[in-house]
């Protein structure tokens, strides 16, 4: 269960006033103005076999939607995006576009400046004209029932596709709100104004999707029951558990999972009420590490240090994200591996690391050199893993792949026929846009399967 660091010693709330905090957590990349959109869209070259499309997991026809924006057909642009990716609105905000579509943009070659695809996409989706009606229709009912486990990006995308094809979908969600990572995991300043919920409402407008909340697989029902009562099952359960440091002091108060804290941050009514450490150390170098580090600074922490066992080039977070952290005052310490956390039942006071180096065989090894960083909070952001309990009630369980996640074939079917999976619970890059892609493709495979049954 979630454990939130408690107020003691240097861990305090109200480090910053409400006004300052609200200012700190405003939209990090605000909606472009009409003029900015004109200039940005003009730069798109309308490439043939465009590299940006190939770089987008959901294969949005980027040149076409940008052309539609540029000709003043913004509603058409939004439809183009959403027809490929129903979560195009949140992807526009949270995608690391600098490593995907914008990295592939041919404008990088001689100009070193890609078309602002992500921000144009957000502009388009935001300007979908509700007066023109919902842009998708449902096919005639097929009478088929599909269970989707998890109302995160993968589950929502899968459910929407299936609903469009005329199937009836029930989503089982363990939390009390839909959205998954978009609701509980993404940094606050990337999805402002309760956007995750707005987007889910839009997805559900297709009809034919029922969501049951506070229903967790392995706790409230099991996979066999779903298989018995539905024509197909899609598992979009995310990861549910985090990796541990496995070092002394990990259980002391003040040592926290970054995902739990972010989840708390995303749900709290007043950000200033959150307990915030004075000196914070973040272990890890992925997107979650950046998110917790930057948000800690924005909440008023004095010192935030991100510590990574390899060198900076090897960081999972993109250069853009690294820059974001550094411009927010986050300090990076690389080549340091956690050794022990020092403190007592009243809290922690420092964390020790072994300096690492890459040996002649190219292997990372810890040295005897010790680095000590004073801290009152340590956030662990070293990756997530599948929750062990979700299949505890089942005898027949889907196979796992080498990385410990659910194994799937090309059609996103698990080792159990009729049971599909996608999103973070299968092997991949752990991106929202990739989860949508999995959901889309699994839905098409399920639809194909059920079509054969109907015939």
């Amino acid at each position: 269960m979630r454990r939130v660091i408690s107020l003691k010693n240097n861990i305090q709330s109200n480090r910053l006033g409400d006004v300052e905090i609200v200012e700190n957590f405003t939209d990090i990349a605000p909606l472009l103005t009409e003029k900015q959109v004109l200039v940005a869209s003009e730069r798109c070259l309308f490439c043939y076999d465009a590299p940006c499309i190939n770089a987008c997991p959901t294969e949005i026809d980027i040149p076409l939607f940008i052309r539609k924006i540029n000709t003043g057909n913004v509603h058409g642009a939004a439809k183009e995006i959403l027809s490929a990716n129903i979560l195009g609105g949140s992807c526009a905000r949270v995608c690391p576009t600098e490593t995907l579509c914008e990295d592939a943009c041919v404008r990088n070659t001689h100009e070193d400046a890609p078309v602002s695809i992500g921000r144009l996409q957000r502009y388009a989706v935001e300007h979908l004209d509700p007066a023109r009606g919902y842009p998708f229709t449902r096919a005639q009912s097929t009478g088929k029932q599909i269970a989707v486990v998890g109302a995160g990006p993968a589950g929502l995308a899968c459910a929407h596709r299936l609903a469009r094809e005329g199937h009836a979908v029930t989503i089982y969600e363990a939390a009390t709100k839909p959205g998954g990572l978009n609701e509980y995991g993404i940094a606050q300043y990337k999805l402002v104004n309760n956007y995750a919920q707005q987007e889910v409402e839009f997805v559900l407008q297709i009809g034919g999707i029922d969501i049951q909340y506070a229903k967790a697989l392995g706790r409230d029902f099991n996979l066999q029951q779903l298989r018995d009562t539905h024509d197909a099952v899609f598992l979009g359960i995310g990861m549910g558990d985090t990796n541990g440091l496995n070092i002394p002091g990990e259980t002391l108060p003040g040592v926290e999972d970054a995902v739990d804290y972010i989840s708390e941050l995303r749900q709290v009514d007043s950000l200033s009420q959150l307990p915030v450490g004075k000196n914070i150390v973040v272990i890890g170098a992925g997107m979650t590490a950046i998110d917790i580090a930057v948000q800690s600074k924005k909440l008023g922490a004095s010192e935030v240090t991100m510590v990574y066992r390899r060198d900076q080039q090897a960081m999972g977070a993109s250069e853009h994200e690294q820059e974001l952290a550094q411009t927010n005052g986050v300090r990076f310490v690389c080549n340091a591996q956690p050794k022990q956390i020092l403190g007592d039942e009243n809290g922690i006071n420092s964390i020790e690391f072994n300096r690492t180096l890459t040996n002649e065989q190219g292997k990372l090894v810890a040295t005897d050199e010790i680095i000590s960083i004073p801290c009152d909070v340590v956030f662990k952001a070293i990756g997530q893993k599948l929750h062990p309990d979700f299949l505890q009630q089942d005898n027949q369980r889907p196979d796992l792949c080498k990385s410990g996640r659910l194994a799937v074939d090309d059609t996103y079917q698990t080792s159990i026929p009729g049971v599909y999976a996608g999103g973070d619970c299968i092997k991949g890059k752990d991106l929202v846009v990739e989860a949508v892609d999995h959901g889309n493709k699994a839905a098409l495979a399920i639809h194909h399967l059920l079509q054969q049954e109907i015939k």
Partner: protein, 423 residues
């Protein structure tokens, strides 16, 4: 340093750049600002008989490119809407204050000898250097029997030009309308009437756009529109062609030309001069960017002339005329093919889409290093230039001359031509 000084019909000025007859030359205030900025001369906005016409509100329409850059621009403004005397007084004073600049007065009065006779003497008294006959204005004035209504009838051009030469000692420039089928005919008529020069082109009949909400053409005057005179960068190619027609016709080859039509920079100006203009007139570029552009016009032209070794405007004037010919004289044995420089190609694939969809399927797309490499299939390439035209990179596609060792062969002498002539 190249000499930019210009002499046109004996009228000397510091450079070959005049402001065309239009709103920028409507009154002393603007013209003085232009001279202060460095313009060589002006053609004062067209004078007419009193009472002066009244203009409508909403006068300009625009044809935008994708990013609001003005490709073309039109107007439905009439000739000066100020009284004749005010204009004459201002012209007199400005010419007196700026003796080293050209002061040309544009005129348009009804096609009656007395009307012309009356205004000519008044203009001559101002000390102006010359007159330009506005036979080109395509909107409003033709409905009253003036402007393009005269310019479209060669006999009228000849007649009015003759009156002007008869009643006035100043050089006479006849400004031609492009709204005709063969530009040589009005030029020949002007020559017969005794014109000292022609200037072209005036603006082109146009509707820039339709407002899709109100269904009114633009510019819209209270929900209704009318065709206006089109100008700006979009008309430059039309102007260049018309200019060359006059410059290379044996009948009019000796007729001096003042070039007008979408000249926006020094390069455009040099092209007009190479195709026959002795000087150039600018309007739209000044209206869009202000008079300061004269600095680049002069500086750019001068630097280019230095680079090419031209000491004066005359040195390169008409240099492109011998190379401007009829289709039938073009070399049918000439071969060029496209070459894609992979170092400069950004792999946008625009050339492929253009060639594959709309031309000769001469570009090969090959998957390479996670992207696409585009290369030209030389034997399929007809050298049409389309790929180079569509390419967003200035140096990625070059058109290469292929020497096949064949002699020059024109259609005139081509074996496939049933009407071929013996060499």
């Amino acid at each position: 340093m190249a000499d930019l000084s210009s002499e046109f019909l004996g009228i000397k000025c510091i450079n070959p750049f005049w402001l065309a007859s239009a709103p920028p030359t409507d009154k002393a205030y603007n013209v003085i600002r232009a001279f202060e900025a460095g313009w060589g001369g002006v053609v004062w906005k067209t004078l007419g008989e009193d009472p002066a016409p009244i203009n409508v509100s909403s006068r300009y329409g625009v044809h935008y490119g994708q990013n609001r850059q003005v490709l073309g621009f039109n107007n439905i403004e009439l000739i000066t809407d100020r009284s004749l005397q005010i204009n004459l007084d201002e012209i007199t004073q400005v010419k007196k204050d700026w003796p080293d600049r050209a002061m040309i007065v544009s005129l348009m009065v009804p096609c009656e000898e007395e009307s012309w006779k009356a205004i000519l003497s008044k203009v001559e008294a101002t000390g102006a250097d010359g007159i330009e006959l506005n036979f080109g204005c395509p909107h409003g004035m033709p409905e009253r029997g003036m402007g393009a209504a005269v310019g479209q009838v060669p006999e009228y051009i000849e007649m009015v030009t003759r009156w002007c030469k008869q009643y006035c000692s100043l050089p006479v420039i006849v400004k031609l309308t492009p709204n005709i089928t063969d530009i040589r005919l009005p030029a020949e008529a002007a020559l017969r009437g005794g014109a000292d020069a022609v200037s072209l082109i005036n603006t082109i009949n146009s509707i820039t756009s339709v407002n899709l909400d109100t269904m009114s053409p633009e510019p819209s005057v209270d929900g209704k529109g009318t065709h206006g005179g089109y100008c700006g960068p979009a008309v430059k190619p039309i102007a260049l062609s018309m200019l060359s027609e006059i410059a290379r016709s044996p009948v009019t080859a000796q007729l001096p030309i003042s070039g007008i039509g979408g000249i926006s920079n020094w390069r455009d100006a040099a092209e007009f001069i190479a195709l026959g203009a002795a000087n150039v007139q600018v309007c739209t570029a000044a209206m869009l960017f202000g008079f300061k552009i004269i600095d680049d016009l002069c500086d750019g032209l001068s630097d280019w002339m230095d680079e090419k070794g031209y000491e004066s405007i005359d040195d390169f004037c008409r240099m492109a005329i011998p190379n401007t010919t009829d289709w039938k004289h073009l070399n049918m044995n000439y071969k060029r093919v496209a070459y894609i420089d992979q170092d400069n190609c950004i792999q946008c694939g625009r050339c492929f889409a253009a060639c594959e969809d709309t031309s000769h399927q001469s570009i090969l797309k090959t998957a390479k290093n996670g992207g696409n490499e585009y290369t030209v299939i030389e034997k399929e390439c007809v050298g049409c230039n389309l790929c180079q035209v569509t390419c967003p990179e200035p140096n990625a596609i070059v058109m290469l001359d292929i020497d096949e060792g064949k002699e020059h062969l024109s259609w005139l002498h081509h074996p496939a031509n049933p009407y071929r002539e013996a060499k």
